[in-house]
Symmetry: none
Subunit: 354 residues, 2 copies
């Protein structure tokens, strides 16, 4: 194991060097040193928050997460998020999706618990909406308190009635202090109605470049300025009342309005759709673990950091490692499923189970 790990590491380092185009002047070296420091910090956080494996534990204690997403058009995204949560060590992973999406998501994996409860407008009459909305909320309310974290958005689609229901689900989760990771179409919902998460310290938004642009436009009423990326993100997070935002990109920038962190370890240059879903599912688990860790060790004892920020850093560094390993093996044909298959090995390399 050690020998193969070190040969993998050598290959990774070679690859990183090979892929680093451009000169190697002082500026780049400084950047590399800073990146390595952030990378080490993110890995250390992951090691700190990962719960010990203990024979006396029972099912559920390592995390129960749920993904709200999956509609007539999209089924892959919620599957990627939910299975990633399991692959990094959660005990139970649920999906709440539309009736059309459920059988398909169920066939992707028997490991997931899939609830076909959401409805889209095309399938129902206007006069039924009120009643259906109440029923959807009642169904999810039975489960909400059991979850350590909710992921809202992967493959949610943009049906107005469905999004209205999901907005209410978010409010219910918030009332019960369930952390919420918002990605994909969930971010579309948040951009339309930032009040849904405003001031909620257990909310994490994980926008990509375009989603971030729309969020900045809506909340700060300006265009994105790349030269002030850290300050801008910090201001945005503060403006939405201290939610944690992870701005995904070449480097992932993370802020809760207080501190700003960056993870820029080299991942994969492939940008196949679905990697954001791995991240949202992983962050959900890591946020749960970080909260557990913080409450077990006293408030924010690990470098005084917000558990949501720690969860984002751990999720980012793990995805980047798995994506790089997948790319080393599959090169241009790397797909999201290939990365998911390497989450376990990546985790083991960062924090061996025993």
């Amino acid at each position: 194991m050690l020998a193969s790990s070190s040969s993998v590491l050598r290959r990774q380092h070679f690859l990183v060097r090979s892929l680093c185009v451009g000169g190697c002047g002082n500026r780049k070296r400084l950047h590399d040193i800073r990146s390595m420091a952030c990378y080490a910090e993110a890995e250390n956080i992951l090691r700190a928050i990962i719960p010990p494996l203990d024979r006396s534990k029972y099912k559920g204690q390592a995390g129960k997460v749920a993904v709200v997403g999956g509609c007539r058009e999209y089924t892959g995204a919620p599957y990627f998020a939910a299975i990633s949560a399991l692959k990094i060590g959660a005990d139970l992973s649920h999906v709440f999706c539309t009736k059309d999406a459920a059988p398909v998501i169920k066939t992707y994996s028997p490991e997931l618990i899939v609830h076909p409860i959401l409805e889209e407008s095309y399938n129902i009459r206007d006069e039924e909406k009120e009643q259906i909305s109440v029923k959807v909320l009642a169904e999810i309310d039975k489960w909400l308190e059991r979850f350590d974290c909710l992921v809202v958005g992967p493959g949610l689609g943009r049906d107005p009635f469905l999004l209205e229901c999901v907005g209410q689900i978010m409010s219910h989760a918030r009332q019960r202090n369930v952390p919420i990771v918002v990605d994909g179409d969930g971010l579309f919902l948040i951009t339309e109605n930032p009040g849904l998460v405003n001031g909620y310290h257990l909310a994490v938004l994980t926008p990509n470049i375009n989603e971030y642009k729309r969020l900045v436009k809506k909340v700060l009423n300006c265009e994105v300025k790349d030269q002030d990326a850290h300050q801008e993100l910090q201001l945005l997070a503060k403006q939405i009342g201290g939610v944690t935002i992870m701005r995904k990109g070449k480097s992932d920038l993370i802020s809760d309005g207080d501190i700003v962190k960056s993870v820029s370890q080299y991942g994969s240059p492939r940008r196949c759709g679905g990697q954001g879903d791995i991240l949202s599912g992983s962050v959900a688990v890591f946020v749960s673990w970080a909260r557990q860790h913080s409450s077990a060790t006293g408030v924010d004892s690990t470098s005084q950091m917000n558990p949501t920020v720690m969860g984002c850093m751990a999720g980012s560094v793990l995805l980047r490692k798995a994506a790089l390993l997948a790319f080393v093996s599959k090169r241009r044909s790397t797909l999201t499923s290939d990365i998911i298959e390497l989450l376990g090995r990546s985790l083991e390399e960062i924090s061996p189970a025993c």
Copy 2:
């Protein structure tokens, strides 16, 4: 990696020699030399147009393609086309199919985005057709401009109402200058109504021997003459107003009515169904990349060649290489899925990712 590559190459060469039946006179040698030159040209084109992998890129920039196909009878063909596009490096791959076909195609792979929007006659009443047709067009119009290339035909079937809708989809794509690769039942549609692509320089037709015969009969009003294959293809492409046609066969012949190119590298002697679908999905990606490359380097700077012809040559050489590798491993039991699994390795051998 190098050692295993070279042993694979030796095995390939041995296999090619073993499989080349017939004498080795001067004529055959001349043919072999010509084939090798074409093969080298096709590989060089692939290397030239393949986009560099760059950390600063974001999702979608390496290509977004869509397959229009998949009905009650056929679900494998659109899956093969769409997954092949991802396996060679596209970022996003969509399928637009009938409602019956969608759940099945979705279960083949969570990596694809599958839209259940098409309808077949058996499922609807005559008086609904007009309204449904408008709805289908409205649905696809929301997406069309985002695609770098459309593949029309894999597993489309021959339902008249469905084909009428697909004809309109092609017209809308054409209005928006989205390249279209037409294969399978899409070619049946084109043969019935060549006006759909006539004069459209971003259309690529990929007929097999029978589809080609019907096209020649319809457009040139004569039988296929094998002794004048190059001239006949050139005339056919010119007659349909400069669309690019790839006549698949022992050698793939490609013409846009101006030049004629041939790719005759040895592939696999297995003729299992589905290889044409791999080709159509691959050509879609390569045409997108060739257009990107041409616009980045100035108009057609690479050997002054039409990007659609470059895309066809790259698609042909890659499929042949992957099919040969699959045959070396699986022999008579080689299936299309085996070939798809080797697209990545074949691409890597032609153009290493770093």
